[in-house]
Symmetry: C2
Subunit: 469 residues, 2 copies
């Protein structure tokens, strides 16, 4: 059996794996990049990118509901050719996937191995008929959408994002089970494109929100577009005419297809992680440090969605860099500071969680400031005057801690807020920043003003919003 | 003649005057608020707000150009009812004006005087048949659109924003003279709504841009929508059929109306500023400090658009607060730090200037990083993949200085960048901030990466984008 010796073996050529490769190359170490299954990142193939395309088409189509009030005529004559929409989504998606591949694995020779890897020892991998001995190993195998085994019997009538973006047409009706990021983004878009959508989640809130006030606003806004059933598990059965009956509590609907959007599980099944000889968590993921990505004290590093922490691209990229760097320098493992949380659901309006969410703050020592979106001038102009912004701060120090919101342009407000958190700003300092007019950032300003009234640490000087020279 | 004695007299009830009033009230001083002419802020009546409404309608209508590529059918059947558009704009505008008034002057009794004020002495005003003696005075009289005297002969065929938002219908053709904020915002919107627009400016660049690369992109993008003539003064004459012939250099067009958008002049004519006995600048504005708003060493303070510095709402608000506070405490005038510059032209894509622009940076000590919008994933998805982002930093220290750009979502990117400037961040520190995916903020990240390569001061640690614990 052929045995190859390299400095670093990277398992998985998605975002985390590719970022790991970048660090290994920078360290001028030898490596192999091993990928079983489809190439291309989850993001580009079945995640962030194609979903944003569908959202954009759905949003453009949905704007017609505002046309008659403002002098645009003929909106009722607009319609959607659903196969054409899907073809367009696939076309753009293919471009993004090609771009990822041409920037990464397309130019690799023997360093790229398209096959599955299996641990024999912590630093010895079996890949097809080869063995690979590496000084450091990066596990970046990603994740797979969860589908309950009992639902497999329904075949292609129960799909996940792995299949969804391959559809040549959209069904007339769908149940979307799971109302996190994917369920809300696709559920709302499909409904806007004329698919009769029912949204179902076992949880009490949608969009991963923990703030009860924001969660209520989010539910009101989304329920206005399609029915949402919360708090009960979905049960599926087949109807006589071959469709799917979905029951949740007392509710029942018959649909053509079900989109299972109940989260993703780490791809660890084929890795034979037992060979690492370390403890694993309930999902089968080896215990590891987020600061170093290191598994126990092995020269093995876990990066990206497989680690189960933050399944978002920039965090997978950071994971990959950390794991790649440390795998290339396993003799002196370096710990890195991780970024504050930012989570964006690109539904309309956006659902945002930033920094410490309501579920994380200590309600004894923290205070809350809020601003409804309804009266915000620019939101009115956009015809998007629905939503709620809630901001959290430490009462004693005035330090800004985090936010939850459902708000138009929330994706941008989230960046402003998460940068403020990383810059360790107080509410008073944030109020001294420029806010232009008329922009959605003014809604954050209003919420900050309300929050400022609650904190003990105030700005010095006679005018709160201005610093003296 | 009745003489009233108050602590503070505020001339002008726009944004600056109302903010001044807020500070005077907080100081529990007596005051009068004097306003000649129409009540309501420039912003709400004829500025930011109604222009944003028109832009939103025009943008919604313009999106139809993207419909056929993505499966939305019937876009060709959309049309605009221009009188209905204007009625809608006026309706929303009236709401905003009512809101301003009901929050401010509607509840004032004798403290609100609707008349013009004239200085008799620095602290003595004549208002109608009254005299007002004040310990401190705030001048917040705003500004008026410039129309060359020679053009008055054309009557209502040459209009400014003062008249534009009152139109009951839009003409079939217009020349927009002056391509700053107002000219670009209204010119592009009118053209998108079916008015045949010609844009003309004496300057070499549009949108107040000083960066030649960004200016070229902006001109290319805007010229793609309507003809733009730069570098020549416009000359107007009447045609035989009562329309307006506009000539600029070798170019010539005949239009129904002309929108004069050539800037605004301070409202100082009726104030009898000679009574202050201080030096004035070329526009007739008394010399004053921006940090205190004080005129010379008089207890007289200048605030808002009348000062000729930064005719934008949040700066007028800051002016008003500073002037109001100092007028209420003229015995100990306080100097305040002013915010870094942020300028947004809400055309599509947005044109942005932030902090030190290309015209301000020292090209010897500064470096530039750029990112074209064309390849940015989210921009492609939005169908807005045109534009250019240019960022400036101090080479030695790596300190981020400013930016110019034409980019989608530029209004939001501008906030992120201006906050970074006020926080005195380096390029390296900015690169360590979270950037989600796929968002337009990633275009800023790419430009920062390019800029980072040019600066001497790099982040410590083995991975540039990550801080060690």
């Amino acid at each position: 059996m052929e045995e190859i010796t390299v400095d670093v073996a990277i398992i998985g050529s998605g975002t985390a794996g590719l970022n790991a490769m970048g660090q290994v190359r920078r360290a001028r170490k030898s490596f192999v990049l091993i990928n079983g299954g489809e190439a291309g990142t989850t993001c580009a193939r079945v995640g962030c990118m194609p979903s944003k395309v569908l959202i954009q088409v759905a949003e453009d189509f949905h704007r017609k509901s505002l046309f008659s009030r403002c002098g645009i005529e003929g909106g009722d004559g607009l319609s959607v050719d659903r196969p054409e929409v899907m073809e367009y989504v696939q076309h753009i998606r293919d471009n993004f996937v090609d771009r990822v591949l041409s920037n990464s694995t397309d130019h690799l020779g023997d360093e790229f191995i398209e096959d599955y890897a299996r641990f024999v020892e912590p630093t010895l991998l079996a890949v097809g008929d080869k063995r690979i001995r590496a000084t450091g190993v990066v596990i970046a195998t990603g994740s797979t959408p969860i589908v309950p085994d009992a639902w497999r019997v329904f075949g292609d009538r129960v799909i996940t994002t792995d299949e969804f973006f391959e559809l040549e047409d959209l069904p007339d009706s769908m149940a979307v089970i799971g109302l996190g990021v994917i369920g809300l983004e696709l559920g709302q878009s499909l409904n806007r494109l004329g698919v009769k959508v029912t949204g179902i989640d076992l949880a009490a809130n949608i969009g991963g929100l923990s703030d009860p006030v924001v969660a209520r606003h989010a539910l009101d806004i989304m329920s206005n577009e399609f029915p949402i059933w919360l708090g009960e598990a979905a049960e599926l059965s087949e109807t006589d005419d071959g469709r799917i009956r979905v029951r949740a509590g007392d509710n029942e609907v018959v649909v053509d297809k079900v989109l299972a959007a109940m989260g993703r599980r780490p791809n660890v099944d084929h890795l034979n992680l037992e060979a690492l000889g370390v403890e694993v968590d309930a999902k089968g993921v080896p215990l590891h440090s987020q600061a170093t990505c290191q598994v126990g004290d092995l020269p093995v590093f876990l990066a990206g969605d497989v680690n189960g922490h933050r399944p978002i691209l920039h965090e997978a990229g950071d994971d990959g860099k950390i794991a790649g760097y440390n795998a290339a320098h396993p003799e002196a493992v370096t710990a890195f500071r991780r970024k504050p949380w930012i989570g964006i659901t690109f539904c309309d309006p956006n659902i945002i969680t930033v920094g410490q969410t309501h579920g994380h703050i200590d309600l004894e020592s923290a205070v809350i400031g809020e601003m409804p979106v309804a009266p915000v001038g620019r939101a009115l102009i956009m015809g998007k005057n629905k939503g709620m912004i809630r901001l959290y701060a430490d009462k004693a120090s005035g330090r800004f801690l985090g936010a939850e919101m459902i708000a138009p342009a929330g994706e941008h407000l989230a960046h402003l807020l998460v940068w403020a958190i990383q810059n360790e700003m107080t509410v008073g300092e944030m109020l001294r920043m420029p806010f232009y007019h008329p922009v959605m950032e003014e809604a954050v300003q209003a919420a900050l003003n309300n929050l400022y009234a609650e904190v003990d640490t105030k700005n010095p000087g006679p005018i709160t919003e201005l610093a003296t020279v």
